[in-house]
């Protein structure tokens, strides 16, 4: 029990709220940039969302012949085929666009034809490790369901937080979470990671993680508000964030380490999932401190009031240091 690391000193007094003059414009700028790249570059939607065919091939020999596969698959006449190495020189990933046809039914037939032809062409030299064909009907619904999922999820959380906290907290948490979702989408665009069904799971997980983190900070702000009724709101928030800082850092670090293992060793299929999660952990932690907390000030959360007798009289055994600091 002798050796213990303290990552964060016990009595930190970072004036976090002073950063809001920086963090708000910075986050706003990043959000605007996301919107711009979203429209300028566009999300690299996977076939789950735009339909099409995805095939992962593994060479039966020692190495895949990427140029030959590219040439042969493009010659099949199914539009341009995107061929890329996937994880190792033996594996290739082929992506084909949704086939065009006058009716949905014909489109689906054409899609099936693509797979048949590909198997005929490459079946001898390559093993088909993965084949995914998504038709036009399914992909449209996925976009819709995904969006509905995020919205319903946020509304559910909003309602729950309204019950447990004051409304300013609920709004603040939702804004911080939306901020994280927007920036994560921006991350997907900038890194050109494929956005598929699993990415939707990432977004919702980040939503969960970010909320979790925000609620921990909020919980403490609420507690400190009851304790120090005469202090300015920003002072109370600073005390709350500083007292949860050690937890915030340790949790973010452990989760980050766990996801880092996933990103490095979890295999190619989970790569974009874990990369986005890593980003989400960082951004979720940042937003709890620099967005969710200071926004309470702008939302006009009231301090003190109520019971003047208890004003600033710390509870039995409460930290004298903290009280002294607060009064200073």
């Amino acid at each position: 029990m002798a050796f213990r690391l303290r990552f964060i000193p016990d009595d930190t007094k970072f004036p976090f709220m002073g950063f809001r003059a920086v963090s708000f414009p910075a986050s706003a700028l990043l959000s605007v940039l996301t919107v711009i790249v979203f429209f300028a570059i566009g999300v690299n939607f996977g076939i789950d969302f735009k339909g099409g065919t995805l095939v992962e091939l593994q060479a039966k020999g020692a190495q895949a012949n990427i140029s030959q596969v590219r040439e042969k698959s493009n010659a099949l006449g199914f539009g341009s085929v995107e061929v890329a190495e996937f994880g190792s020189p033996r594996e290739l990933l082929l992506r084909l666009e949704l086939q065009t046809a006058p009716t949905t039914a014909e489109q689906e037939k054409a899609q099936q034809n693509v797979v048949t032809k590909l198997r005929e062409t490459f079946g001898n030299d390559y093993e088909f490790r993965r084949v995914e064909v998504v038709g036009p009907r399914v992909s449209g619904e996925l976009v819709q369901n995904g969006t509905i999922g995020v919205i319903v999820g946020i509304i559910g959380v909003l309602i729950y937080l309204c019950f447990r906290f004051e409304w300013q907290f609920a709004i603040g948490a939702v804004i911080a979470t939306l901020h994280d979702i927007v920036l994560t989408i921006g991350f997907f665009v900038v890194m050109q990671l494929t956005f598929d069904m699993t990415s939707l799971a990432v977004i919702l997980t980040i939503l969960g993680y970010s909320l979790n983190d925000t609620v921990v900070v909020y919980d403490r702000i609420r507690e400190m508000l009851r304790k120090y009724k005469k202090l300015q709101l920003y002072e109370v928030i600073d005390i709350a964030i500083n007292s949860t800082l050690s937890r915030t850092v340790i949790t973010a670090t452990t989760t980050f380490l766990a996801m880092l293992a996933m990103a490095i060793f979890g295999g190619e299929v989970l790569r974009s999932f874990s990369l986005a999660m890593l980003f989400g952990i960082v951004i979720g932690t940042y937003s709890s401190i620099f967005i969710a907390a200071p926004i309470l000030i702008y939302l006009g959360l009231k301090t003190g009031g109520g019971d003047p007798a208890k004003d600033d009289k710390p509870e039995a055994g409460a930290p004298k240091a903290a009280a002294a600091r607060a009064k200073a």
């Binding site: 029990m1 002798a2 050796f3 213990r4 690391l5 016990d10 593994q58 949905t104 039914a105 048949t116 093993e127 490790r129 993965r130 084949v131 995914e132 064909v133 998504v134 038709g135 009907r137 399914v138 995904g146 509905i148 999922g149 319903v152 999820g153 559910g156 959380v157 729950y160 069904m197 699993t198 939707l200 799971a201 997980t205 939503l207 969960g208 993680y209 909320l211 979790n212 609620v215 919980d219 403490r220 507690e223 949860t244 050690s246 937890r247 340790i250 949790t251 452990t254 380490l257 766990a258 996801m259 996933m262 490095i264 060793f265 979890g266 295999g267 989970l270 999932f273 055994g317 930290p319």
Partner: protein
Amino acid sequence: MMRISRIKSILIILASLLGCLLAVPSLMPETTRKAVFGSLPAWVPQKAVSLGLDLQGGAHVLLEIDKPDLIRSMNTQLRDDVRRVMREERVALQGGIAMQPRGVQFRIPQADDRARALPKLRLLAQPAGQQLFGPTGTQTIDLVEAPDGQITMTYSDLGLNERIRRVGQQTIEVIEKRINIDGTKEPSIQRQGLDRILVQVPGLTDPQQLKERLGRTAKLQFRFVAEAGAADTEQMRNRDSGQLVAVERSVIVEGEDLIDAQASFDQRTGQPIVNFRFNIRGSQRFGDATTRGVGRQLAIVLDNEVISAPVVQTPITGGSGQISGQFSVEQVNSLSLLLRAGALPAKLAIIEERTVGAGLGADSIRAGLLASYLAMALVAVFMIVTYGFFGVVAVIAVTINVFMLLGLLAVIGATLTLPGIAGIVLTVGMAVDANVLIYERVREEARMGRSAISALDAGFERALSTIVDANLTTLIAAIVLFFLGSGPVRGFAVTLSLGILTTVFTAFTLSRLMIATWYRWRRPSKVVI
């Protein structure tokens, strides 16, 4: 918070043990599992977490009932029914029967004709939606009569949906027969929504044959080729020659009257053929028709294509016959299989297909497991470095947490997918967070000068309310994910939700019990954390 009654302690330990025991089957390779659990009584839980198709390899095909085609055939049927009523009641129509998008329209100019025909026409409609909610007052077909004698019959939404539901049920039955004929794989066939059917076959890596089996309607009909000048005929393509043939609309016998179909070879030519046998009704009709029609051409129609049109030499009354055409051995095999399983009640479209080879699945498991072990090791080292003895307690709690999660997944029969593994790793992160919240709080309370017991008490109590709030918000998001996601995402949501539950459970009970026990044993006056 640090006083836990003996009964509670025992319950906590039992619950944790049980959770871990449930995970045991999942941790064994299949062969070991069979050897160990095969000898145990049946009440011992021996279910292992089933692996998703992305981990064990297999084919996933999502089918959708072709609605326009179904409506078209419903319309045709309605038109034939109306025509029959008109014939039976000797009613003359003005003009023909016009097809509407979802029904038919025709005109009966004479008022007394209308009076006779309408009650009969109304009989064609049935009350809709009765099974679930009692009579709804809605009919499967709405009948509207205009003053000038124009009658419009339209399928109502309820009527259409009910039909789709029924067709879906029949489709599943037929698909089951078609796939289970091999008897080797364990396919799962599930309804998804109103008009979709998901077929999953573990271990199948080339679903070409499966898709062919699922995609064919296999509707077999015997009709006469129309004689010159005959009315009520339709043009059909001949499968071999590609030429159009005029065929009578009336059907002699259909595939549903078949009781058997076998692939065989023609004894004279050696060509692959399908031998079939009719049931009593089928053989009677077939016998009658071939007696009447000696010398005529009989068209054997499969999915609106004439596959052969032999001339009837003698009446065929024995109830059996053969289908010949230019078939390969493979084709007659699959045709006889399809005929045995029966025709699909409607066309199906393949709208999604996902296949994962066994190799990729195994690689994914290997990578996923390696990453999970590493993640846990990293987290364990970090926690022990940070919290010392308490870190060890946290690692034990988190490990048991993961076992319990696996056990729960096995018990509810959940499927572990690749994103599910990521969900477990995330659970590790969250479970650690619960412990961190507790320890940091205890640390703070101790720093205020509280005694060990008071710091532990206050620390646990305050941290637990935070843990509940934080985890409940995440749980809400996970539940929404479950209801709106599909496939792998659902698996992820299940893992995450259960992970949150086990996390809150272990934080409330196990971590507390371990620390309380330690406190009773050491009785420290101060907590060093």
